[in-house]
Amino acid sequence: MKLPKKTMMAIMTSLLAFLTILLTVMPVKAADQVTNNSVMQRIKQKKELVVGTSADYPPLEFTASEAGQTKYVGVDIELAKDIAKDLNAKLVIKNMSFDSLLVALETGKVDMVISAMTPSPERKKSVDFSKIYYHPSGEFFLINKKDQAKYRKIADFKGQTLGAQTGSIQYELIQKQMKSSKVKGLSKINNLVLAVQSGKVAGVVVEELIAKAYAQNNHNLLAVQSDLKEAQAGNAVAIAKGQKDLVAAVNKTIARVQKEQLIEHKYLPAAAKYMKTAKKNNSMMKYAPYFVKGVGYTVEITIFSVLIGVILGTLFALMRLSKIKLVHWLAVAYIEFIRGTPQMVQILFVYFGVGYFVSNLSAVVAGIIAIGLNSGAYVAEDIRSGIGSIAKGQTEAARSLGLSQAKTYRYVIIPQALKNIWPALGNEFITLLKDSSLVSVIGVSELMYQTQLVQTSTYRGVLPLAIAMVIYFIMTFTLTRLLNYFEKRMKHND
């Protein structure tokens, strides 16, 4: 696209202004949100403890299905329950990807993070930790059974790629102690297991219990004790900086848990029970409610995002066609900026960034807003090119008959443009439906997220994905038919 120099300058200036405002306002707001000891006050006030976790790490945190309901279970969840009890608050679990957890903590989305997190020096720079509550039993290699003769220790993986959870301690261990191997980071354990099974990586480094759980549920996998040396073993609860009272309270609970030996005698056996049931009954039928719930959210997100997208898109298309320069430039800047940045980043930005200003912004609403905002830019371009495709002669003929600009648009241009816009708009809706899967990163229970839950619950990677694909296809196929029907009807009106 060719833009005059002046327009380019205007776009750059408005973008810079936008970013400057954002960056100056945000830290102030952030300081409001998490100040000294403010988290404890919030917990006491709301009588609610919000714990962030990445529930794909059995036996520490994972999901189990009980009477069709998703339940968060595992050692860390049990600990969270006891902490909540001691704080006299109701426990709320927020499940999100591991690498989003610390951001969620810093932005006040969660009060604490209990997610098998090791207090590494890097992490200590941004958050505080309780004392260690659990010492993992050691790192294991999870490999394909057919490779059991090949991979036994670090040296065997020379030149090979190993998988680990992004941002995890295992990831660092591979980098530091297996310098002749490459490391591939994925945020979900189930995807890592898939990577092993499909040969993308030679093995995955995980903690003993997890490795054993997956090996038990997949006959072609094997858990092998590794010779990785752990520099700082042990998991701790992460809490935002400056929350001395909360750290003290958590440490008190941990002390009690350790004294009563709850982890060994209560937490682990309970977790093992859920892991066993998962093994016994992995029929996908049992998980149908998961998919149904996912479809519900996917449809909801799609409908509302389309609405926002169409309203914004029309607005920005008209603004872009406006003769008032400032209005025109604002629209151009918005469209170019949105189209020039990844949607994934936009979703995370809306949830965590805008969350500064609106503290109780739910993930679903954030997802709908982010996708709607994104769609608006594309719809605006669809509308603009639809209008642009109408020959200039049409406008001239209408104007020469005395029709005002507004009436020319209303009676001559828009009715013709709609026919051109409709197919492009239809494609946009289908893309949007599929892209709604991206909001799984902020923990919205849409279809993709639910699929991941099924993967972790069943220890099976491929089948849930296949089911999700079929469901997505049925949805997009139905939508395509519907759109074609309306397109045909429009053509008949010619």
Binding site: A391, G393, Q394, E396, A397, A398, R399, S400, L401, G402, L403, S404, Q405, K407, Y411, V412, P415, Q416, K419, N493, D494
Partner: protein, 246 residues
């Protein structure tokens, strides 16, 4: 002496650095039929489009109904003056999403606020006048070029204009269709309509025009009665041009 219907004073039009109309002054009187001829790229169409301000003049005045159109910005006043100047385009520019009668009714109903019944009656009369009363419900795409152009003429006439502007109305037509459009225009001229026609149809110009304007290089080189221009042009540019086309 009657006052001119349209008075053009020192009209100039530039597109960027390209000066298409250099300095044009002329008058169109009521009831007059003027044909503008000249080589391609001489600025004929631009001049015509300046008359109803589809192109905004860079300099100069266009006085119509006592108002200088060149001074007006887009808005109600300009729209109201435009509706008094019908325009017919080279490519017809019918609205493809409306049938013939809807094309004709649109402006009377939406601009003048005339009732649908009345607009329909006028439209059918006009269609009869251009010989297409049986095509009212057809869509433009099913009509021949000549028929489309006749509908376009009827559509412009529906606003009851004081003057009709024709921008090369037969240039996009197959040769066998040219006659029917020229016939319609001739009938219109004989009914007393004021007309400004940019055309390459020299025979039509000679027969129908009251005055021929010869344009070249952005200037109105000479104007006069057809018999004078066609038989005894004064400027060398006109002599060269006519030698080629006649």
């Amino acid at each position: 002496m009657t006052k001119a219907m349209i008075e053009i004073n020192h009209l100039k039009k530039r597109f960027g650095n390209n000066e298409v109309l250099k300095d044009i002054s002329a008058e169109v009187d009521k009831g007059q039929v003027i044909c503008i001829i000249g080589p391609s790229g001489s600025g004929k169409s631009t001049f015509l489009r300046c008359l109803n301000v589809l192109e905004h003049p860079t300099e100069g005045k266009i006085i119509f109904d006592g108002t200088d159109l060149a001074k007006l910005n887009e808005g109600k006043e300009l729209d109201q003056l435009r509706e008094k100047m019908g325009m017919v385009f080279q490519n017809f520019n019918l609205f493809p999403n409306m049938n013939v009668i809807e094309n004709i009714k649109l402006a009377p109903m939406k601009v003048k606020g005339i009732s649908e019944a009345e607009a329909e009656k006028t439209a059918l009369e006009l269609l009869a006048r251009v010989g297409l009363e049986d095509r009212a419900k057809q869509y433009p795409s099913s009509l021949s070029g000549g028929q489309q152009q006749r509908v376009a003429i009827a559509r412009a006439l529906a606003m009851n204009p004081e003057v009709m502007l024709f921008d090369e109305p037969t240039s996009a037509l197959d040769p066998e269709m040219v006659g029917e459009v020229l016939k319609t225009m001739q009938d219109l001229a004989e009914s007393g309509m004021t007309m400004v026609v940019v055309t390459h149809e020299m025979a039509f110009a000679r027969e129908v025009a009251d005055e021929i304007w010869f344009m070249a290089d952005g200037y109105l080189q000479e104007k006069g009665a057809p018999e004078v221009i066609f038989t005894n042009p004064t400027s060398q540019r006109a002599k060269d041009f006519l030698a080629k086309v006649l």
